[in-house]
């Protein structure tokens, strides 16, 4: 072989390797900051929707999106913690709705038997306690009987829905019957032209708290370690079952607080609150770059993911697009996000 052809071959090789490495650089960046891809999707979505509709990028509409996101965002926060451990919670919204009915109904009492009901200072903690208990029940089944979280929460989803409907006797509790304290989160705070409900603020505060806990405390680190590889975590001296149990319990607490946000947002306590919230919460987590395989992701990414869902729903509505297309768009986003995650996890840098 002549020297020249050898040289050209070599330059081919270097060119090949540099084009590979450019993709690898993107891959490794996405690997290190999983929320980067979702952040760019969010920015692109906001950009294109504002292009199609001049009303989209107004403070009023952005405030509305945040309010619409507050329920899904809060549910998705609890969901993130569970998914980080390598689990999943299909029953998250069912827990919230159950908690909402307990708080609203036990606080109201039963007018037919002239019962004043519990004081709200009992009814509210009772609801939160039941939500935590429901989360702990999921955790108990997952840790004690080593059942797959998917199956456990598929079962408890139905159980919680049934309990809620039985408890509520199938009846909704209307705004004027609900204790004013439960509607507290519908109050608004004006920041310039932005209108933020207390519910949004509570959601954001929960995000800040858990972003801190997951990043800076050993509890958070153990959540990631268990999600990475439970056996390795056990051999590293982590009580895997305790960590899992705490994750489900904490998620239950978050779902309990979510029910407060829920009442404030929809102003009625109904056992028939759309149960597709369960799946939308998982959607937000996945779009936000958290891996369904566990051990990778951030709550910040989930917040972006929830915003993407909100922006798509709001933007497509403003653009006058049929609701079915919103569902279609979200579906495509999920597939895209999971494909990206699978690709990113194969990083070799």
């Amino acid at each position: 072989m002549s020297k020249k052809s050898l040289e050209s071959k070599q330059s081919d090789l270097t060119e090949f390797s540099s084009s590979i490495s450019r993709i690898q650089i993107i891959q490794s960046y996405l690997h290190r900051y999983p929320w980067l891809s979702s952040a760019s999707v969010l920015i692109m979505a906001i950009f294109s929707f504002s292009f199609f509709n001049s009303n989209f990028l107004t403070p009023g509409n952005l405030s509305l999106i945040l309010q619409q996101v507050s329920i899904i965002g809060a549910l998705a926060l609890g969901q993130t913690i569970i998914i980080l451990t390598g689990g999943i919670d299909l029953s998250c919204a069912a827990i919230s709705v159950c908690c909402m009915m307990i708080m609203a109904k036990s606080g109201m009492g039963d007018p037919y038997i002239e019962n004043d009901g519990l004081s709200i200072w009992l009814a509210f903690p009772l609801g939160i306690f039941i939500a935590a208990l429901a989360g702990a029940f999921n955790g108990f089944l997952v840790t004690k009987f080593r059942l797959p979280p998917f199956i456990v929460t598929l079962g408890t989803l139905n159980i919680f829905i049934a309990i809620t409907i039985l408890y509520a006797s199938g009846r909704s509790i209307l705004e004027n019957e609900i204790d004013p304290f439960l509607l507290e989160l519908s109050n608004i705070l004006k920041i310039g032209e932005f209108v933020v409900t207390y519910g949004v603020i509570l959601m954001l505060l929960m995000y800040v708290f858990f972003a801190y806990s997951l990043r800076f405390t050993s509890w958070g680190r153990h959540i990631y370690a268990v999600g990475n590889d439970p056996e390795a975590a056990r051999l590293s001296g982590i009580s895997v079952n305790k960590v899992l149990m705490s994750a489900y319990l904490v998620a239950g607490l978050i779902f309990g607080l979510t029910s407060w946000i829920m009442i404030g947002r929809i102003m009625v306590a109904s056992p028939n609150v759309p149960s597709d919230y369960n799946l939308v919460a998982i959607t937000a987590v996945v779009i936000g770059g958290t891996s369904l395989f566990g051990g990778r992701g951030t709550v910040f990414g989930t917040l972006i993911g929830a915003c993407i869902v909100g922006v798509f729903q709001n933007g497509l509505t403003l653009a006058g697009v049929d609701l079915t297309f919103q569902v279609l768009a979200i579906g495509i986003l999920i597939i895209f996000a999971v494909t990206l995650d699978t690709w990113v996890r194969r990083v070799k840098v």
Partner: protein
């Protein structure tokens, strides 16, 4: 006569119908390197998992410094000063090197602030992790903020070894510590083992690599079918004898066994 630091007597461990340990024994003397060799399925890994508390034996005794112990979890053996590098390495891939070294024993910030916020002392842990890694002499890990999954197999092993060495107080157990390492890194681990020995720390090492075993070990315990088939020293026996005992081709005479010879 010197008393053993660690004594294992008649350990039995079964997984359903599979008998992993069928009355295994072991003695580890102060300051020695004890190699455990054996064919696949001879119960080497199960034996050390029982010692480190990762598995609970069905019956038998584990005695440390003359006192019988019973470890239900890894945390308990760690408290007793035993550190283990498992064959699977037991690292969390998406966490960085520092997080992995301190996994399960994170240091919290001091004072009232640390108690209230439960915040970890990241800078202290980072500093210490850097120290442990560089004291191993394995410089191939440049950045301890790197996620472990971005490291090569050898570097991951280095992280696991560094973790064990950093925290071991009494006994250090290494299960196939050089399996994923290159020639240079292997020799670094071997010199590290000698270094540990010179610090007076007894080491148990499981390895398939006979030349390495003969290089570092004071005594070689041969496991066969879940039991101790014999103990020899590199001085009295050669590799051929060891392999023959391992495969059952040769049975050691009791007088050949150098059970109590301590260097």
């Amino acid at each position: 006569m010197v008393k053993p630091v660690l004594e294992v007597k008649n350990l039995i461990k079964t997984y359903g119908r599979v008998i992993a340990l069928d009355g295994a024994d072991l003695e580890l003397y102060p300051g020695e390197v004890l190699a455990i060799v054996g064919d696949n399925g001879a119960g080497k890994s199960t034996l050390i998992k029982c010692i480190s508390g990762a598995e609970k034996a069905d019956s038998g005794k584990i005695i440390i410094d003359g006192a019988e112990v019973s470890f239900n979890k890894v945390q308990e053996s760690r408290l007793a000063g035993i550190e283990t590098v498992y064959q699977s390495l037991a690292v969390a891939p998406s966490l960085d090197v520092t997080a992995n070294i301190f996994l399960g024993r994170e240091i919290r910030r001091g004072g009232l602030f640390g108690q209230l916020s439960r915040m970890m002392d990241s800078s202290l842990m980072k500093k210490d992790a850097q120290k442990y890694i560089s004291s191993l002499g394995i410089e191939t890990i440049q950045n301890i903020n790197q996620a472990v999954e971005t490291l090569s197999g050898g570097q991951r092993q280095a992280v696991a070894v560094a973790r064990a060495v950093a925290f071991s107080q009494k006994i250090i157990i290494l299960d196939e510590p050089t399996a994923a390492l290159g020639v240079r890194e292997s020799s670094q681990v071997l010199s590290l083992i000698k270094n540990l020995q010179s610090r007076g720390l007894p080491v148990i090492i499981i390895s398939h690599n006979m030349p390495q075993v003969f290089e570092v070990a004071n005594r070689i315990q041969i496991q066969r079918l879940g039991k101790r088939a014999g103990v020899v020293t590199p001085k009295t026996h050669d590799m051929r004898d060891v392999v023959a005992v391992m495969t059952g081709a040769l049975k050691l005479e009791q007088k050949d066994q150098t059970l109590n010879s301590v260097t």
